[in-house]
Every structure is written in structure tokens, then in C-alpha cells.
């Protein structure tokens, strides 16, 4: 970790976004994670994505569970409220937060211990409920804060720092999210910011539940030879089927695509996601085949990254519940209290 405080003064030449803010306005406190921790790169990608989307920094709600990953909301979006919940229970808190105020952009940051072990039940159910949020798992396959125990996403046979192999089958949150109905499912790598930033932007704007599993190596406990969550292993084995380029509403498409090779997914705010197929027969709108592809690749030792599934007409929890457009949190007595007169009728019903 670093104890060097960041200067408060911005560099005058930092580019401004559409609402006149620069990247520094989207930062948070100085990270206390280990130097080289993948999680810090994820935080940096979140900062860049939010700044480029020109969303006012205070209009986010940041939620997390417990663990190294869950500390990171401290390190981005310092002007938004954050909630460090209890271990594995961030999904329920995020559900409540989103139900209360549907206008805020909800970002949940969790870890593999937080979401795949203690919180796997809550993870499964927030996916089912289609809560409108971006849910990122900083996945390093290990319990860092308690000094290096295997987590449930650690691959069978992957070894600990002392060379002991993991004996249990891994849980793949991406497959799980796909199977339970997540509308947006991606996997990325903390070391690949060019892939991660567009995914974060698209995930934030996607309506419904957007899930990104980010392989984010733990430099202290799971970055050695023999680990399948190390920087080297991930770089060497990552394969992308679909590349996603994020295009804001007013931007022009500059890239040249060969006909038939790219597809446009429109997001609720008018932005577009341009998908380039890197693998001929991969269809990111076919949930069943996406699942099969991911599992085949995993069998072959490949880590599939990129946007793996997206439904273009996603619904969210508020639509399912048919709630009013105004956030429930701002409704007052006039809208909520049926009043004295209505009680006459209610009392009469009990006579």
C-alpha cells in the first residue's frame, strides 16, 4: 500500500467530460490494498468508465460485502454514498437500495469468497430478481484478508503458495448467472482495461442485472506458478469470443467492421454496444449455447472473456413489481398515507 496522499489540485490539462468534470472527480480515497493488486485496476476501470459516461459522481450507490474486494468502493467515486455490508449479504442490501431509489446507478463490488461461498444464496437470488445494477466480482480464487485459503472459485488442482493443490470443484459464477437468467453476463481480466472499461459502461447502462466476473489476481497469495488465477496464467489462457465497443449516443462509429461481423445492441439511454464476433459460431444472445461454449472452453483450459451474453430487451425488478417511476424514497405523506377518511371504510370492513 502507499501512504503518499494524492494531490488535491487537478492537472489543468486533464480532459473534462460532458458535465465538466475530469477523471479525478470520480476517484476515492487512496487504496490500502497491496501494490499490484488486481482490484485496484478494477477500481481504476470503474473510475474511467463512470467519468466517460458523464454521470454525476454522487448519483451512484456503491455496495459491497466483506473482504479485500469489498473495501474497494472506498477507492472510487468519493462523492457517492457507499455501504460496506456484512459478509456475503451485499445482494440483499443492494436489492433494498435499488427498490428504494431506482434513479441511482447501483454498483455492487464483491469477491469470490463473498459471492461464491457465504453469499452464494443471495447472489443466486439477486440474479433471479433482475435488480437493475452492475455487479462486479473481483475474482482472485483466494481469501486474501485471512491469508490465502482457497475460495470456491479456485480451480481444482490449482495450487496454493505452498504447493498444496485444491481438491474441490470450482464454482463458475458466470455459468451460474447465465443459468439463472442474468440479462448481461461478462468475464474480464483486471489486466485488460481496454476490454473492462466498455463492459463496465455497458453494464451500468443495461437495464436489469449486469454481471461482470473479473479475474483479479491476488499478488500476495495467489499469483505464483501453479495458480490458475495469476497474472501470467490469465494472460496466457484468456480467449475472447466477442469484443464489445461502447458507443455513447452522440459518438460516431469510427471503426471499420467487415459486414456481418458486427452487431449493434441499443442500451436504454440511446448508447450502443458494438459487438464484434471473434469466434464464428458464438451467439451472445443465445443463453443455452453461450453456456455450452463457456463450459467447453473451460474443459479445454481456456478462460473465456468478453461479453458472453446480453439480452437486448431486458426487464428489471421494478418492472416486474410494477412500481411507480418516482423513487419510493421520495414519496411523502400525501402519496403514501391513505388518511383519516379512508379508515372509515377500512373499519367498516371489519364489522
Amino acid at each position: 500500500m502507499t501512504f503518499v496522499a494524492k494531490p488535491v489540485v487537478h492537472h489543468p490539462k486533464l480532459p473534462l467530460n460532458e458535465i465538466g468534470l475530469n477523471r479525478r472527480d470520480y476517484e476515492g480515497l487512496v487504496s490500502t490494498l497491496c501494490a499490484g493488486c488486481g482490484h485496484d485496476a478494477v477500481s481504476a476501470a470503474v473510475i474511467q468508465a463512470c467519468a466517460e459516461l458523464s454521470i454525476p459522481p454522487h448519483r451512484f450507490a456503491k455496495l459491497s460485502g466483506i473482504g479485500c474486494s469489498s473495501k474497494t468502493p472506498n477507492y472510487f467515486l468519493g462523492n457517492s454514498h457507499g455501504f460496506n455490508a456484512v459478509h456475503g449479504r451485499m445482494p440483499s442490501v443492494a436489492t433494498g437500495a435499488n427498490l428504494a431509489n431506482r434513479e441511482l446507478y447501483c454498483i455492487g463490488i464483491s469477491g469470490d469468497g463473498d459471492s461464491a461461498s457465504i453469499g452464494i444464496g443471495q447472489f443466486a437470488h439477486i440474479v433471479r430478481r433482475r435488480v437493475n445494477m452492475l455487479y462486479i466480482v473481483d475474482n482472485n480464487g483466494t481469501y486474501g484478508l485471512t491469508k490465502g485459503q482457497f475460495s470456491a472459485t479456485n480451480d481444482k488442482g490449482s495450487t496454493s503458495k505452498r504447493g498444496v493443490p485444491n481438491l474441490y470443484e470450482p464454482i463458475d459464477l458466470v455459468s451460474m448467472a447465465l443459468q439463472i437468467g442474468a440479462g448481461f453476463v461478462a468475464r474480464s481480466f483486471s489486466g485488460d482495461r481496454s476490454q473492462l472499461v466498455p463492459l463496465i459502461k455497458a453494464g451500468l447502462l443495461h437495464r436489469g442485472f449486469a454481471f461482470i466476473d473479473v479475474i483479479s489476481p491476488c499478488v500476495a497469495f495467489n499469483n505464483h506458478n501453479g495458480s490458475t488465477k495469476s497474472y501470467d496464467y490469465t494472460r496466457g489462457n484468456a480467449a475472447s469470443f466477442v469484443a464489445a465497443d461502447f458507443v455513447a449516443p452522440h459518438e460516431q462509429i469510427t471503426a471499420d467492421y467487415a459486414p456481418g461481423e458486427h452487431e449493434i445492441v441499443r442500451l436504454p439511454d440511446g448508447s450502443e454496444l458494438h459487438l464484434r464476433k471473434l469466434e464464428e459460431d458464438y451467439d451472445p444472445h443465445d443463453r443455452t449455447r453461450a453456456l455450452a461454449h463457456i463450459q467447453e472452453a473451460s474443459r479445454d483450459g481456456e478462460i473465456v472473456t468478453g461479453l458472453l451474453y446480453v439480452d437486448s430487451d431486458g426487464t428489471d425488478c421494478h418492472e416486474i413489481l410494477d412500481t411507480v417511476d418516482t423513487p419510493l424514497s421520495v414519496l411523502g405523506e400525501a402519496e403514501l398515507c391513505p388518511g383519516e377518511a379512508a379508515l372509515d371504510g377500512i373499519n367498516a370492513g371489519f364489522r
Binding site: P56, P57, H58, R59, A61, L63, P73, N74, G78, N79, S80, H81, G82, F83, N84, A85, V86, R89, P91, S92, V93, A94, T95, G96, A97, N98, L99, A100, N101, L104, G121, Q122, A124, H125, R129, H318, L321, D322, T323, V324, D325, P327, L328, S329, V330, L331, G332, E333, E335, L336, C337, P338, G339, E340, A342, L343, I346, N347, F350, R351
Partner: protein, 619 residues
């Protein structure tokens, strides 16, 4: 000699046989004749096939508590014949289906058997097996109307309203009622010496259960989010909230809902959703029972320490563990008061009546917002699931929600220095901000780890201690805001204290004790932390009986721990078998204590003797 409007009728049925609606109709008919009644549903944790009982007590004196000793037993379950017959008072009545003659087990020399050939009547009148099963219950209601002299029109009127829109069901129901009535009139001595008689003792009161009243209180209080997990006996509260909100909380133009109900995956998630919603500015609640409260403990600790409002209704049932899931108890006091690890404590409310369930539900949301902490409303199965008489629900349109100390964007513009946990006012309560309020001010990180007054993570012993001490200041503020105890008397040397549903049989117990020469001052405790009056009441008496429905005297523990009460000044009167405590039990235990300790029964302070012979017929 004929007695009017004073009897206990118990229906012994098999659950899943459709008896609940018939028995409910019987009770409602008495209520509509102006007769004060109370009902108790003693049911199994099962869908179909196990014994279930429903009791209706009519009491001209207005006593709501259970009374042992059944005047008329409707014995419709062969499996429980022995115990059902044994429950009847000498000289009482037993109504049974005599289609196959009198079962040997039903015979008791000092009980009047009333045979009605229910099955035979049904078989000749209906062909559909389902109708045959359901209308058996309706036939005995018809017979009872003749035996007890209940206005037949009141019952048929209820059938018509109940099946409005399903008109084809009205005629066969009325036919079944008539069959029972006509048989009784023709072949039985009608009416019996115990009878109903039209009166006006009900006044404007309503018949409602505590769960439904509490759900309405939550709606009136502006709760927008309910997250819950099904568990008896709390389920009907969440369901009632959804049903009433679907009518009362819908946008007239769009049809969209101004509320959200989530049936969560478990109780952990339910309280998590509540806390997330409250953090983000909505009023939210959950309803659960003991096992759910245990699961919610971790989150309750977070909400206590991070200071997030939350409202939890614990409709208590019998513990420990799964216990007796469909019976009543007051066994969660300590678990609720100190839910979660570390030095954690939560304010509690103890409603006694459906009206108070409504009132305390509304109060709980104001208290939670004001105190920025979870408020636990401790109801129980007895109050939550039994329909009983209650004063009409009332609301004053001038009442404003107390959303507590929440800074708006404009407030934040004015504030020079914002510290979430700064005790600016000296009451231990800081100012909070809601997410999304201000572009540059007021954002903070909510966490369950230690932090300083500015919500910054710290491992400093001083900062931690300061924070924990401030939470105690807040706790003392809470004591001034909880509903005051209801105290009456003040002239006798001995008192009796009770709370929640132990208040229900109290009027009757006290009246009967007066006949025994025992007069007691009374205190009904309504909230925790205790106001000073609670300890003062106990101090002012030689000793105080404390009536509770749990084995370990949990309220006594709270009083000793938290109000500094001398343990020897409290004499516990405990009942914890799962059935609501009766006036007779209270009376017997009180008298036993007097007798065993050779205490003089007339214990008025000199000068006040004999001044108060007034009977409290309604509390």
C-alpha cells in the same frame, strides 16, 4: 336458569376440512348481534388431516382472554374425542354427528349429548364429495343457530356477502344452514339454557387480528418496502400488507404501485433488503418469528452499529428452535433486546391489542427514523393471528411522519462540516444523509467496522469507545421516546405488571381477585428501554407480580438488568405451554403466593381501604 352472551364454544375439527370459514362465520354472527367475543385458533403445523380447534368466547362483561372449561363442544374429530369430552364443564353440552350412533368415547354422564345426523343429512342433499365435506361444517353452524338462538338472518346475510360474485355458492350454503337449523328445531330442545341475545355491548368496535392491523399501521406510516420470508405466525402480516397496499397504494392514473413486496430467499435477505432500502431513504419493514429473528441477528447488529433505521415485527411463537410453531409465547424478549454479538441492544414495543398493533406499527417507523436504529415490535401468535375485538383504528390527518435527522441538499449547502456520527445536539443522534443528495457534500461510507465521527475507518481505541458511549447516550434518548407504561391504582401495597398479550386476561383476573380480597395496582409495560416510571412503580410496592408467557422470566431479567430492579421484588407468574394464559391461571398463582407466604389479602394503604370496588370490565 338461562344465561345470555356468556359461554365458551370449542370446535374440534380436522384441519384442511374447511371448518375455519364456517367457524369464523359463527363467531362473526355473534359479533354482529352486538355480543363481545374473542376467538382463539389452536391449529397444527400441517396442511391437512391433523386436529385443530377453534374457540369462541362470548362475554357480556367484555373479557377477551381464554377461559378453560368449555360450555359447548362441537366434536367433529374422532381422533380427539377423549380430550374434547374431558374439556367440557359438568352440565355442559356436546354436539356430535350421530349418523353412526353415539361413539362410546363421547359418553360422559355429566354432559348433555346433542346428536345431529350431519353426515346423513349431507349425503342425502349433496352428491359432490367436496361439497359434502365443506357443508358438514355449515350444517352444524345451522344447528347451533337454533340451539343458541342466533339470528338466522345475520348468518344468511354473511353468506351472501362472503360469496358475492360467486352467487352459485350462496343457495347451497343457505340450504346447508337451513338443514341444520330445521333438524335442531324439530328434534332437539331449542334453545339451550346458554344463549345469545342481541345487545349493543360491541359499540363501534371492529373484529380484526393484530397482523392485519399492524400491516395497516405500516401502510399508514408510509412503509413502501416489505421484505419477508414465510414463517408462521407472521406470514399473514406481509400478505395483509400486500393486499391492502394493492388497494390503497396504487397510482390512480397509471395503476403502478407505490410499494414493493419481496418474498426473500430467507430471513437474512429479508432484513438485508429492509436495511438497504432504509439506508437509501425508504421506510421498510420485515415480519418474522423467533427462528427468523435468530437468522437476522447479524444484520441487526450492523444496523445498530451503522445506525440505520429498520422495523421488524416479531410475531412470537413457542421456542426454542422450531418449538411449537403454531402456539403462542413471549419467548423472544432477550433474543430481540440483545440480538447480535458485541454490546448490541434494540428498542422493543409490546402491543397488547389489535388497535395497538396498528398504533405501534406506525410509531415504530417514526422511532426508527428518529433513533436511526432497528425497532422491534414484539407481537405474538395470540395477538397476530386471532381476530378479536378492537377499538376502531384511528388516524389524525394532522400527524406528520417524523423522518428524523436527515439533511437535505439545501441543509448541506449550509453545513460547514458534516460528520455522520457527530453528536451535534447532545442526544446521541447524528445527522444522516441519503445517497444521491448533494454533488460534493455529505457522502460517507456506511460500515459495520469501527469508524470515527466522520465515518472514517479507524482502529483507534478512543474513537471506538467514544462511539460506543455515544450509542449509550442515544439509548437514554430512546428511553424518553418509547410509549409510557399504563399505570393504574397507586394505592395498594402490591402491584402486578404485564405486557403484550398477558394484558388480555388481566381485567378478568383483577376483577376476580377483588372478590378474593386481593387488590393490586397495575402496570402495563409498553416499551423497552424502560422509562423511569417503570422502576418507580416497582419501587413503590412491596412486591410486584410479573405475568409472562415464557419459562425464564425474560422481562424480569430485562427489568433487573436494565432498570436496576431488585430481583426479590418481582414475583413471576409464568405460563408457557403455548396456549394463551387465562385469568384463572393468573388468579390461582397470585392467591397461591399470598397463601404460601401468609400474606394478608386486603392490602390497601390505610385511608384508601374500600374506596375502590370498581370493576374494570374493559381495559
Amino acid at each position: 336458569m338461562t344465561t345470555y352472551n356468556d359461554f365458551v364454544i370449542r370446535f374440534a375439527n380436522v384441519n384442511g376440512s374447511g371448518s375455519a370459514s364456517a367457524n369464523g362465520m359463527f363467531a362473526k354472527a355473534l359479533f354482529r348481534m352486538g355480543v363481545p367475543i374473542s376467538t382463539h385458533n389452536i391449529f397444527p403445523s400441517n396442511i391437512e388431516g391433523l386436529p385443530t380447534w377453534f374457540e369462541v368466547r362470548a362475554s357480556a362483561a367484555g373479557y377477551h382472554g381464554r377461559r378453560e372449561g368449555v360450555d359447548l363442544m362441537v366434536a367433529m374429530n374422532a381422533e380427539t374425542y377423549e380430550e374434547d369430552v374431558a374439556a367440557v364443564v359438568p352440565g355442559g353440552y356436546l354436539l356430535y354427528d350421530n349418523s353412526a350412533g353415539l361413539d362410546r368415547r363421547l359418553f360422559r354422564r355429566d354432559v348433555n349429548q346433542i346428536g345431529v345426523p350431519i353426515s346423513k343429512l349431507i349425503v342425502s342433499a349433496y352428491t359432490d364429495p367436496r361439497q359434502r365435506k365443506l357443508f358438514k361444517n355449515i350444517v352444524y353452524v345451522g344447528a347451533l343457530s337454533a340451539l343458541l338462538n342466533i339470528d338466522f338472518d345475520v348468518i344468511t346475510g354473511m353468506v351472501s356477502t362472503q360469496y358475492r360474485g360467486k352467487d352459485e355458492l350462496i343457495a347451497p350454503n343457505i340450504r346447508a344452514l337451513e338443514m341444520g337449523r330445521d333438524y335442531a328445531r324439530e328434534y332437539l330442545e331449542c334453545p339451550l339454557p346458554i344463549q345469545a341475545r342481541r345487545t349493543d355491548l360491541v359499540g363501534d368496535r371492529i373484529m380484526i387480528d393484530g397482523n392485519e392491523a399492524g400491516a395497516l399501521g405500516a401502510i399508514y406510516a408510509g412503509a413502501t418496502i416489505c421484505a419477508w420470508y414465510p414463517i408462521t405466525p407472521s406470514t399473514s402480516m406481509a400478505e395483509a400488507f400486500e393486499n391492502h397496499a394493492a388497494r390503497l397504494r396504487v397510482d390512480k392514473n397509471t395503476g403502478q404501485r407505490k410499494f414493493a413486496v419481496i418474498q426473500a430467499e430467507d430471513e437474512l435477505a429479508a432484513i438485508g433488503i429492509v436495511i438497504g432500502a432504509a439506508w437509501n431513504g425508504a421506510r421498510a419493514f420485515t415480519a418474522t418469528s423467533g427462528p427468523g429473528l435468530s437468522l437476522m441477528s447479524e444484520f441487526l447488529g450492523l444496523a445498530y452499529f451503522a445506525e440505520i433505521p429498520a422495523v421488524l415485527f416479531d410475531i412470537q411463537r413457542v421456542g426454542p428452535s422450531t418449538g411449537l410453531p403454531t402456539r403462542t409465547q413471549q419467548g423472544d424478549l432477550l433474543a430481540a433486546a440483545y440480538a447480535s454479538h458485541g454490546d448490541t441492544r434494540h428498542p422493543l414495543l409490546f402491543p397488547s391489542t389489535p388497535g395497538e398493533s396498528f398504533e405501534f406499527a406506525a410509531a415504530a417507523f417514526d422511532l426508527a427514523d428518529r433513533l436511526q436504529t432497528p425497532i422491534i415490535v414484539l407481537s405474538d401468535l395470540e395477538l397476530g393471528m386471532n381476530e378479536n375485538l378492537s377499538d376502531p383504528l384511528t388516524w389524525d390527518d394532522r400527524r406528520r411522519y417524523d423522518r428524523g435527522k436527515v439533511l437535505s441538499r439545501e441543509d448541506l449547502d449550509e453545513v460547514e462540516e458534516f460528520g455522520r456520527y457527530l453528536d451535534v445536539d447532545g442526544d446521541g443522534i447524528g445527522y444522516r444523509t441519503l445517497p444521491g443528495t448533494h454533488p460534493t457534500k455529505g457522502a460517507f461510507f456506511t460500515r459495520g467496522t469501527s469508524r470515527d465521527a466522520f465515518a472514517r475507518y479507524t482502529e483507534s481505541a478512543d474513537a471506538y469507545t467514544e462511539n460506543m458511549d455515544r450509542l449509550l447516550v442515544k439509548w437514554r434518548t430512546a428511553a424518553t421516546l418509547m410509549p409510557a407504561p399504563e399505570i393504574s391504582g397507586r394505592r395498594h401495597r402490591v402491584g402486578i405488571a404485564y405486557y403484550g398479550t398477558t394484558a388480555v386476561p388481566m381485567a378478568e383476573a383483577l376483577d376476580n381477585l377483588v372478590d378474593d380480597g386481593v387488590r393490586l395496582d397495575t402496570m402495563r409495560i409498553r416499551g423497552f428501554p424502560f422509562s423511569d416510571e417503570v422502576a418507580r412503580f416497582i419501587d413503590a410496592h412491596d412486591f410486584v407480580f410479573l405475568v409472562e408467557q415464557n419459562r425464564d422470566g425474560q422481562m424480569k431479567t430485562l427489568l433487573v438488568n436494565e432498570a436496576g430492579v431488585e430481583p426479590t421484588k418481582i414475583v413471576s407468574v409464568l405460563s408457557y405451554g403455548g396456549l394463551s394464559i387465562t385469568a384463572d391461571t393468573i388468579r390461582e398463582r397470585v392467591l397461591k403466593h399470598y397463601d404460601e407466604n401468609n400474606l394478608a389479602r386486603l392490602t390497601e394503604v390505610s385511608g384508601a381501604a374500600g374506596a375502590d370496588g370498581r370493576r374494570t370490565s374493559r381495559q
